[in-house]
């Protein structure tokens, strides 16, 4: 038996360089073709005057960046990217914590409620966003209809959810939060169930009430998993353009543009590939910072 096992081992060892490479290749190809390639292409375009439908291309130095930085739409897009990302994370973390606390308790129909809460995450983002587009529509909005029916507004005078800059920003924020909530809830729920029951019980015996137990014991203990939820949430929101694109397409008057949606609008729809590429490069510094923290969390998890 021992001999047979040793043999298998040696065969495995002889094969492993090839086998390892074979297993590794798809991942490397994927990263090279779909991540590294476009990334370097974007850097290349950002210093050129590439346009869709034009085969000629010239090096223009920092010209694209200079003109972008002057554009008011770009400044709004930067601001919005941060507002959407940070505010939706705050809403999501608070909401997900509340949901996780509620779902931790056993009650009838908990499985069904969990399923319902997970639904926004499972459904394709475009479908969800289209649903919200109808809910927030200027004429057919159910929210407006309810508000009118409750006599908060006169008919035809209800707010234009996606038509007024501030309301549009709030609407996009809401949809982003709705979209991310299930993901964070599931992660936090897992984090909570991983805490031994003894700990909150010890806190109760020690005299801590609900809030003290949550804020001084449970949530600090969940810090690693909480940072995973936040970091993923930051990336999802910061790089997402589907929600903005479907709800407002960046409007009204570019008031809801974000970096990705503006890059798409300029680069693809506006045919100015170089400008689009330059805008998208502004995502990189923040993503590098987030990636650094993610690696640190992963490293800590490994060490512990």
């Amino acid at each position: 038996m021992a001999i047979a096992r040793a043999k298998i081992k040696s065969v495995g060892a002889a094969q492993s360089p090839l086998l390892g490479a074979a297993m590794f290749t798809p991942a490397v190809l994927y990263i090279l073709l779909l991540v590294a390639g476009p990334f370097f292409l974007a850097i290349f375009y950002a210093f050129s005057d590439a346009r869709i439908g034009n085969t000629e291309m010239h090096y223009v130095g920092l010209e694209n960046f200079r003109s972008i930085l002057k554009s008011p739409s770009f400044r709004i897009a930067i601001r919005n990217s941060f507002i959407f990302t940070i505010c939706s994370q705050i809403v999501v973390i608070v909401g997900a914590n509340i949901l996780a606390i509620a779902l931790e308790k056993t009650f009838r129909g908990r499985g069904f409620i969990r399923f319902l809460i997970l639904l926004p995450w499972v459904a394709p983002i475009a479908l969800g966003a289209i649903g919200w587009k109808w809910i927030l529509d200027s004429i057919y909005s159910v929210i407006s209809w309810v508000l009118v029916a409750l006599h908060f507004y006169k008919p035809f005078n209800a707010p234009m959810w996606l038509g007024e800059p501030h309301l549009a920003i709030a609407s996009v924020l809401l949809v982003h939060s709705w979209r991310l909530m299930p993901f964070s809830t599931v992660i936090l729920l897992a984090g909570r169930t991983a805490i031994p029951k003894d700990i909150p019980e010890a806190a109760a015996v020690d005299g801590a009430g609900f809030w003290r137990t949550q804020f001084q014991i449970i949530i600090p203990m969940m810090r690693p998993i909480l940072s995973v939820a936040v970091l993923f949430g930051l990336i999802f929101t910061f790089t997402d353009m589907t929600v903005v694109y479907i709800l407002t397409a960046g409007g009204p008057f570019d008031s809801t543009q974000t970096l990705p949606s503006l890059a798409f609008a300029m680069g693809i729809q506006g045919s100015d590939l170089a400008a689009g590429a330059a805008i998208s490069l502004f995502l990189v510094p923040l993503l590098i910072i987030i990636a650094y923290f993610m690696l640190r969390v992963a490293h800590r998890a490994e060490v512990n």
Binding site: E201, V205, D206
Partner: protein, 345 residues
């Protein structure tokens, strides 16, 4: 006035099922070390958790300091509990762990340092205050858990198998330390364990539980020498008490009283004893075998001897039990009854 008292305390987890704790009445004495002893699933931890307020009783009353506390949350019961896992807060330093109950119970801030240092010095962990729990050994963690419990000066200590996570060697010294600690602070303590050695060594009194029912509440000597029923008789002692059914009673005797006839004085019951197994345990020998004839014929009986060097496997010897060491139990209720004259043949 008893520090802790329970009146027909019952806990049923699933309706229609037998209770985990059934109608338990007990009263602690001021400053005593009371041990809840029972096999796993006997309800001892559930009983402790009800006293702590972590479990709601199905019926019955819990009194602490003469006041019914059924409706009070754990924080309002003036208790401290040490969990089996110690349940230290992993993200807080030892100092902050010990200070947590003070913070939670809104003790004045300027008293914290003094109280934490007092508790830490009582347990000899003054040098560990800056460490995190994961940097501590099992024994140190246990001491931190005890310090966290003592710091608020509770009316009663509840300890849930605090030694079971320590290795055997450490357990003996931790046990001694715990006893010394209890003598020093003198706080009424309830201690849950399934280990009869711990119960006998530490308890002022022992409450023997099985299937949620109290079988006996008495001093360790009383529980060992005069067990209230056959469960207590066989749960305590290793090997357990030998039991034999004789006509209408069950007769029991401890292995250490079943000896070669030459070393038994006075009135005694004698058997021909066939030795089938001999175990050498260093300070003593455990001999098992079967009496060759009479009502006990064929039944396995244990003997505990200081020396079994004269005995050999397969040999048959004359053994005897002094009459006064025989315990009698009712055959149907299995409860202790007065000594009777019985026929062994």
């Amino acid at each position: 006035m008893a520090v802790v008292e329970t009146r027909s305390l019952t806990k049923v987890f699933k309706e229609g099922e037998l209770g985990a704790v059934n109608s338990v009445n007990l009263e602690t004495r001021e400053g005593e070390f009371l041990v809840f002893l029972g096999p796993s699933g006997s309800g001892k931890t559930t009983l402790l958790r009800m006293i702590a307020g972590l479990e709601t009783p199905t019926s019955g009353e819990i009194l602490i300091g003469g006041r019914v506390v059924n409706e009070l949350s754990p924080r309002d019961r003036r208790i401290a509990m040490v969990f089996q896992s110690y349940a230290l807060y992993p993200h807080l330093s030892v100092y902050k762990n010990i200070a947590f109950p003070l913070k939670a119970q809104k003790v004045k801030k300027d008293l914290h340092k003094q109280k934490v240092e007092w508790a830490a010095s009582l347990l000899g962990i003054g040098a560990l205050l800056d460490r995190k729990p994961r940097e501590l050994s099992g024994g140190e963690r246990q001491r931190v858990a005890l310090a966290r419990a003592i710091v608020r000066e509770p009316a009663v200590f509840l300890l849930d198998e605090p030694l079971s996570n320590l290795d055997a060697k450490l357990r003996a010294s931790a046990r001694e330390e715990l006893e010394r600690f209890h003598r020093r602070v003198g706080t009424t303590t309830i201690y849950v364990t399934h280990d009869q050695v711990e119960a006998m060594a530490m308890g002022d009194r022992v409450l023997v539980l099985n299937k949620g029912v109290v079988h006996q509440l008495a001093t360790p000597t009383e529980v060992y020498d005069n067990p209230a029923d056959t469960f207590v008789a066989t749960f305590l002692g290793s090997p357990p008490m030998n039991l034999a059914e004789l006509s209408d009673v069950i007769v029991g005797f401890r292995p250490e009283h079943f000896r070669p006839v030459s070393s038994v004085n006075g009135e005694a019951v004698a058997f021909r004893f066939k030795v089938e197994n001999i175990e050498y345990l260093g300070s003593e020998w455990i001999v098992s075998g079967t009496p060759a004839s009479g009502k006990l014929g064929g039944q396995k009986v244990f003997s505990r001897l200081n020396s079994a060097q004269d005995l050999s496997l397969g040999g048959t010897y004359d053994f005897a039990v002094p009459q006064r060491e025989l315990k009698f139990f009712d055959r149907s209720t299995e409860k202790r009854v007065e000594p009777k004259v019985v026929s062994w043949q």
